[in-house]
Point group: C2
Chain length 369, copies 2
């Protein structure tokens, strides 16, 4: 269904129907000039992110539902990274003409799934047309007790550096997706060339044979066998609220924390820079999944570079006092990868063979366009 | 200077240098995963708006500084419309390749000007590239006492309907801007045709004469004489925080309120719909500036239609109990334009000659693309 058939107000009504605020802190959701939120004796956390088609996402890889889930998770991840809890979202959409009402339905289905996972309410936003692609802005609002908030700036000398989950998988998943896209477009190009040739030779029989070939291209199935995990890490990241809850239960309060969106190296530089300290990170301790390693080999890429600079992991990077060493040791899914040093000692990676390399914040290539 | 010369981090540092939070409620601004805000015993208000190049704005009319001022004011206006006070902003920018560092400087100069006016802090946001035009998302966060918040839904039968300032001016300002743009492009087209003709005739003298004409086109000055006010209303809207303060001083608490972004008719329909009531609005009472009226005549447009459906006024529309009639009467810049009725009586305009017309929410044409 075309959006103009139901109009802007009709579209908003349709979206509103499936949104039911569940948080006691949501006083007023969609429907007025602003949302109204009430947190009792808590600080308000706010994080806003913009996602542009062709830059942050490619709709040939990801469908509207996964895309929505991903952008919501990415923004919630920022609130968890402050040791807070996300509670509300606002969603702004700039829609190119090719989008239909059903696309918006799927987008909100994905948003609702992500929000249900962490009991977050969609409380507002904006819908407008766009002359080009899709633009999405998500603002996530959350709460945290004043003394619970963890900034990037709190790391101290001798603190342990920890990461959750494993790194580099989302980046290698993207390599697979890009490869399969290239394979598909090559097939399409080859086919088109054959058709042109047959046309110029007026070869009817060849033409008919090509027609049968065409449907094989239409049925193109990308080859993801054995890559399911890393594809999932690229298309369906999860904000690590579970870790935030488990750290609290274990009585651990990180001294500094951030989520890994631009790659481990870049985030370590942020924490060191803001905490005025250095660090030593052990290459052998960086957690990497088997599929990530196998795919790196296949692509002849350096595994540590993928983990350090790949980005889009949305795992948590944090520091804890050295006294918490044993507690952390016993927690599944958290790896101690190094320690914090004096600022003058710089931020270095210690490789498996004992060499030291200075960490460089390469950032996420998508931001470099 | 090209943005890639200083990179994403360099650009953020440059922006941060000119941003100094001044609100006691801003605990942490730009620089971490999320901003931290502390309001004491207040509700948090959040409003988010997306502005897409070619849809909400046209950079041939408006420069980066005015654009930033405008989008900030529009978003703050939503917080005032809840009878609250804006305190923080987050700003997301999607930048096409043609934008330079100096454009961003000018944009932030405009933002800082708007923020300084209402003591609002820029506390975060996002910068990314865009494959096409400029995309801007502003989220404004504000505060209000629980009992001070005014929703759209609170209007009651016999309440007076009031508007601030005057209406239709921004819309007529846009007509002037569009006319001058057309005049300019016509001159360019005529010139190009003459050049082509001279080229085909190999007429060197004519060519030289045309060259002198060219600089006249480059120096094209749009004709805004006598239209300064309405141009200003289009390019530099002001959020009516002054009215919010004056109503409070006068001891008036509106029963319902919204800001006029989509035109008076559309906003009245919103208030009536959410308050389950009707209204009677007197055409003769709708405040209209002389320049708006004169321009409507020039364009042969209906003045009341411009005021009802033009949009982008960002004035406040509110209702007060009939008992406040005298207090309102004495307040400069506020006009009583009608009253609230039972829902079954519908929403009608009473024209100067005594006819009744049902109000229709036409909305802002820019949203209809």
């Amino acid at each position: 269904m075309e959006i103009k058939e139901i109009g802007e107000f009709g579209l908003i009504d349709r979206i509103k129907r499936n949104i039911k605020p569940s948080n006691s802190s949501t006083v007023m959701g969609i429907g007025d000039d602003a949302a109204v939120i009430h947190y009792t004796d808590k600080e308000t956390l706010v994080s806003s992110q913009l996602f542009m088609e062709g830059v942050q996402f490619d709709l040939t890889y990801i469908d509207m539902e996964h895309l929505a889930y991903k952008v919501a998770m990415i923004t919630m991840s920022n609130i968890f990274a402050m040791n807070g809890h996300p509670r509300q979202l606002t969603v702004s959409l700039g829609l190119g003409k090719r989008f239909k009402v059903e696309d918006i339905d799927r987008f909100y289905a994905g948003l609702n799934k992500a929000c249900a996972k962490w009991e977050v309410d969609i409380v507002g936003g904006d819908i407008t047309s766009s002359y080009t692609g899709l633009a999405i802005n998500i603002t996530c609002i959350g709460e945290a007790g004043k003394d619970d908030i963890v900034y990037r700036k709190g790391a101290n000398e001798t603190d342990l550096v920890c990461v959750t989950g494993d790194l580099g998988a989302a980046y290698m998943g993207l390599q697979i997706l890009e490869r399969e896209k290239t394979v598909y477009y090559q097939q399409v190009e080859e086919y088109n060339n054959k058709v042109k040739e047959a046309q110029s030779r007026k070869d009817t029989k060849r033409f008919e044979a090509l027609h049968r070939e065409r449907s094989a291209i239409d049925d193109f199935q990308p080859d993801f066998a054995g890559k399911e995990y890393i594809i999932d890490r690229q298309l369906k990241p999860e904000a690590r609220g579970d870790i935030i809850n488990r750290l609290r239960e274990a009585g651990i309060r990180p001294t500094s924390m951030t989520d890994i969106s631009d790659g481990l190296a870049s985030e370590l530089k942020q924490i060191c820079g803001m905490s005025h300290c250095g660090c030593r990170i052990y290459e052998k301790n960086i957690p990497i999944d088997y599929q990530t390693a196998a795919t790196c080999e296949e692509f002849n890429m350096n595994l540590t570079t993928a983990a350090l600079n790949g980005g889009e992991d949305y795992e948590l990077l944090f520091t804890v006092p050295i006294g918490d060493h044993e507690k952390i040791e016993n927690m599944e899914g958290i790896r101690q990868i190094g320690y914090i040093t004096k600022e003058s000692l710089g931020a270095y990676l210690i490789t498996r063979d004992g060499n030291e390399f200075e960490l460089k914040a390469q950032g996420w290539p998508a931001n470099k366009n």
